[in-house]
């Protein structure tokens, strides 16, 4: 696999060219989900439950249907009642029945904002009027949102058929605890017995939203021939196709999904909300239907990630060796099972080599929107608890926070607590990068504090397809099936250009629709540059082989007498001393006479995505008057393998940090006594703005390239959100001289803590 890496020098990979889709995006020309229109298009809108938990007694749509301009009205009755079935769609695995019932409530509304009906009408105003005419009779039920309240034996039960998985004996009564998972090794009691020092604390986080700026949007057109076109903004056109086919019981071949540009996802667009409804409305009306969510709907009805409780107990010897770790994770799943507690469990201790460890995870359903993936799903939450606890441990031992992590940190060859043996990792180098950065020794002023935290994320590979095609003038097209969410077109084009030997501006990357390229798992799990990049490289290599073959024909020499150098075929046959190198353009010009179009498509299932490690350092200053926390400095080092386009890798790191800082300091879902979200807008759900943040110094650690990727790339997009929660909390601890364990560390919380101390 590493043959391309053996090249003496890379020409394109590792450079910072301007992204190929850049001009579209700075001129307003790029088309996002809501930017398409079709002739005769209707407006689709959704009626949503005003109750957090209610039985749907009846839905009467007659008045709505009778309204002039209303062309279709659908409810759960218009969708097949699916059996429970797990579907694999890459990182976004889910249960079909739950997915369908999340798109449209059946029998019960499980959270405020849960869709109960949808209409399509000739204008938005008519659609709104129709929604008001739909009569839904509810029987309001007691609700539960807090994770521990939902676990209590007397809690209102969301699903009568839900019995806790993973406990013996099998429970006889339904519960909101969907599953309990355990992992670990060694002997916990023995580990704690060896410890000289023990720290123990309970940490909590609130549900937070991915906060992509583009609301969900799609258009569906269902033809009289049963052929269906969907344009939408998602993290995976194939995911949308699979889910729509299953939810509506259609053939995948009858659905063609055309990906628009995507205005951010962060995991939140790895599922469907609108698309099945738009198809159903289009099928009923015979017209294309466009649906666009409002920001209010995005907050109330699409995936936040879990609010959680994290209990951590650590034991260590005086020299800093951690002898035991006991971690309990309780994650909200929202209305249906499937919180990221599994990944939270596996990542919790992944930075540490601990002999005796136990992690118990609870997946708990609650009357809040079904959680969706959010960047390194589950990991920031468990890391918040673990990294805060390690900080406390270091304080108790009088140790430097880097020293304690060096002492216990994983290195290549170590078996991680969650199972696999880690290979080709650069965690220690990442710690070192922070230690040797000037930030680590800048003196702090009054009310200032410094915090450090580490993070881990697996990264994934998986199935991807890429096609490389040579145009008649010798330029190339690279087609893949992955929406470009943060600049991946650039890295695809760069890798192809590197292999072909073309200048980057002669390689045009495109994101193809589901009928135009082979299957690819969705854009998620930090997999695209790794896995789809691998498919691109393999396809480009095939094209090079073909080009050499054509050159051999043109020179009338055996194929093994042709080499590929700097984007041209070179003749090695001593009998043809006059044969000048043939450029791609020269070969392409003769393609018709040497075998036809020069093109290759490669589908593969990429294995061996290297895990990513991150170490973050954060300085804060606290205003004792207001309780406001200012982030003064932020430095983030990351084990990236090899950065294909360093600017976009830095961008991933900086963006992840900003989201993590928001999670730590301000963001939270706030519910009223009835279980209705109180802050479903950016005014009250405060994501960081430019004036909330300093420059974020991103350090790319490239000492351990991934040997399973042709250029050494590892996934980079997710791990940067793992450390910030604890890095900020540890900095606040340092500044206050007081540990706050409940996020967000918003001004009222800090003030309350200061007031309590003053008393």
């Amino acid at each position: 696999m590493t043959d391309v890496m053996d090249r003496p020098a890379l020409r394109v990979v590792g450079e910072r060219p301007i992204r190929p889709d850049g001009v579209d995006k700075v001129t307003g020309r790029a088309q996002f989900g809501a930017d398409f229109n079709l002739p005769g298009m209707l407006v689709g809108k959704i009626k949503r439950s005003p109750h957090a938990h209610a039985k749907i007694v009846s839905i009467d749509t007659r008045k709505a249907k009778a309204l002039a301009g209303v062309k279709a009205v659908v409810t759960a009755a218009d969708f097949p009642d699916l059996a429970s079935e797990e579907v694999e769609a890459g990182e976004a695995a889910g249960n079909l029945r739950d997915l369908s019932m999340n798109c449209m409530a059946r029998d019960k509304a499980l959270y405020e904002g849960h869709a109960v009906a949808a209409v399509a009408a000739t204008s938005a105003a008519v659609a709104d009027e129709a929604l008001a005419l739909i009569e839904v009779v509810y029987e309001v039920l007691p609700h539960v949102i807090d994770v521990e309240a939902a676990m209590a034996p007397d809690a209102p039960v969301l699903h009568e058929g839900l019995f806790t998985k993973g406990v013996e004996p099998k429970p006889t009564a339904p519960s909101n605890i969907a599953a309990v998972n355990k992992l670990g090794r060694g002997d916990l009691a023995e580990g704690f017995a060896q410890a000289d020092v023990i720290v123990e604390a309970r940490y909590t986080t609130k549900a937070v939203h991915q906060g992509y700026i583009e609301p969900h949007a799609c258009i569906a057109q269902y033809g009289q021939d049963g052929q269906c076109l969907v344009w939408c903004s998602s993290q995976g056109q194939f995911m949308v196709r699979t889910y729509c086919a299953k939810i509506l019981d259609l053939e995948a071949a009858d659905i063609r999904v055309i990906p628009s540009e995507i205005g951010g996802g962060f995991g939140g667009k790895t599922t469907v909300y609108l698309e099945p409804l738009a198809i159903a409305l289009s099928r009923q009306s015979g017209f294309p239907v466009k649906m666009v969510m409002t920001r209010d709907e995005v907050f109330r009805a699409t995936g936040p990630t879990s609010g959680a409780v994290v209990e951590v107990k650590l034991g260590a010897k005086r020299d800093g060796t951690i002898t035991a770790a006991d971690v309990v994770l309780k994650y909200q799943a929202g209305a249906f099972p499937g919180s990221p507690v599994g990944a939270g469990s596996m990542t919790a201790l992944a930075c540490y080599d601990i002999a005796n460890a136990a992690i118990t995870g609870y997946d708990v359903v609650t009357n809040s929107p079904k959680v969706a993936a959010y960047r390194a799903p589950g990991a920031p939450i468990s890391a918040f608890g673990m990294e805060s606890a390690v900080d406390e441990l270091a304080r108790k031992l009088g140790m430097d926070p880097i020293a304690i992590r060096e002492k216990n940190g994983v290195v290549s060859g170590v078996k991680a607590v969650y199972g696999p043996t880690l290979r080709d990792i650069a965690y220690k180098d990442t710690l070192e990068a922070i230690k040797s950065h000037p930030h680590y020794s800048i003196p702090l002023g009054p009310n200032q504090g410094r915090g450090l935290a580490a993070g881990f994320w697996f990264n994934i590979g998986g199935e991807s397809t890429a096609a490389v095609r040579i145009n008649d003038d010798g330029s190339a097209v690279v087609a893949t099936g992955n929406p470009d969410i943060g600049g991946s077109r650039a890295s695809m084009a760069m890798m192809a250009a590197e292999v072909l030997g073309l200048p980057i501006d002669q390689v045009r990357p495109v994101v193809a629709d589901t009928a135009s390229i082979g299957f690819s798992m969705l854009t998620g799990g930090s997999r695209v540059t790794f896995a789809t990049g691998m498919a691109v490289v393999e396809a480009a290599k095939k094209v090079v082989e073909d080009l050499k073959q054509r050159a051999a024909q043109m020179w009338e020499v055996p194929a093994d007498k042709v080499a590929w150098e700097n984007g041209a075929a070179v003749c090695l046959d001593p009998e043809k001393p006059a044969a000048k190198p043939l450029s791609i353009a020269a070969i392409a010009a003769r393609a018709g006479r040497t075998g036809g179009p020069i093109t290759a498509e490669v589908g593969l299932n990429a294995q061996g995505a290297g895990p990513g490690f991150a170490v973050h350092l954060c300085d804060v200053e606290i205003d004792p008057e207001t309780g406001h926390v200012t982030v003064l400095r932020y430095t983030a080092a990351q084990d990236v393998g090899k950065a294909i386009h360093p600017s976009y890798v830095e961008g991933q790191i900086q963006g992840g940090v900003a989201q993590g800082v928001g999670w730590a300091l301000n963001e939270e879902y706030i519910f009223d006594a009835e279980g209705r979200m109180e802050n479903p807008g950016f005014l009250d759900y405060r994501v960081p703005v430019a004036s909330d943040l300093p420059m974020i110094d991103a350090i790319l650690v490239e000492t351990a390239p991934n040997p399973r990727h042709p250029f050494g790339a590892k996934g980079v997009g997710e791990v940067p959100i793992v450390p910030p929660l604890a890095a900020v909390a540890n900095a606040v601890r340092d500044a206050l001289g007081l540990r706050l364990t409940d996020l967000p560390l918003s001004p009222p919380r800090i003030r309350a803590a200061l007031d309590a101390r003053a008393k």
């Binding site: 910072r16 301007i18 992204r19 889709d21 850049g22 001009v23 579209d24 995006k25 700075v26 001129t27 307003g28 020309r29 790029a30 996002f32 809501a34 930017d35 229109n37 105003a125 991915q210 906060g211 992509y212 700026i213 583009e214 609301p215 540009e261 995507i262 205005g263 951010g264 996802g265 962060f266 666009v292 409002t294 920001r295 969410i485 943060g486 600049g487 386009h645 600017s647 976009y648 830095e650 961008g651 991933q652 900086q654 963006g655 992840g656 940090v657 900003a658 989201q659 807008g681 950016f682 005014l683 994501v687 960081p688 703005v689 430019a690 004036s691 909330d692 943040l693 420059m695 974020i696």
Partner: protein, 162 residues
């Protein structure tokens, strides 16, 4: 309710459109005029994705009613590149990789241009506060702020040279 006839100037060209009284300027630009560069991220004045300039003032077009545009000069992202040449801000956003998904980008560019027209030499803090009405969830703002500083420097140099 019947639609109103609105006469405006959009990116320098006389433009007419019809709009219902309750229609926002954003919807009129996007749906009536096909100018979809301005985006709706919130519809409530909190994200800046819909930023346009009206008579020299930066506004959230989701908060302005379309009929209020009568007789006014509107500048949108679509008018920023001149005669096939990108504006220095657009060029610097590309060079600095100041966009990831690109959804917030038109709003940031329109807002940053309005800033540099008022203050050709803003420092980092001034840029951060001016752009605080524009949300970006992808970049962490670092590269956006750098791109604006770099564009400002280049524009000052060009001005001095001419």
């Amino acid at each position: 309710m019947s639609k109103q006839h609105v006469t405006t100037t959009v990116n320098g060209d006389p433009t007419e459109f019809l709009a219902a009284p309750g229609t926002t300027l954003l919807d009129a630009l996007r749906d009536e005029l096909g100018l979809t560069g301005a985006k709706e991220g919130c519809g409530s004045g909190d994200c800046g994705a819909c930023s346009v300039v009206v008579d020299g003032r930066l506004v959230c077009s989701c908060l302005m009613l379309a009929p209020e545009a009568e007789g006014r000069r509107i500048e949108t992202i679509e008018g920023m590149a001149q005669g096939g040449r990108l504006h220095p801000l657009q060029q610097k956003f590309l060079e600095h990789a100041a966009l990831q998904c690109g959804f917030c980008t038109p709003g940031f560019l329109v807002a940053a241009k309005a800033l540099l027209e008022r203050n050709p030499d803003p420092d980092e803090t001034e840029i951060r506060y001016w752009l605080a009405g524009n949300l970006c969830r992808c970049t962490g703002y670092d590269k956006i702020v750098r791109a604006v500083m770099d564009a400002a420097a280049e524009m000052r140099q060009v001005r001095r040279a001419s």
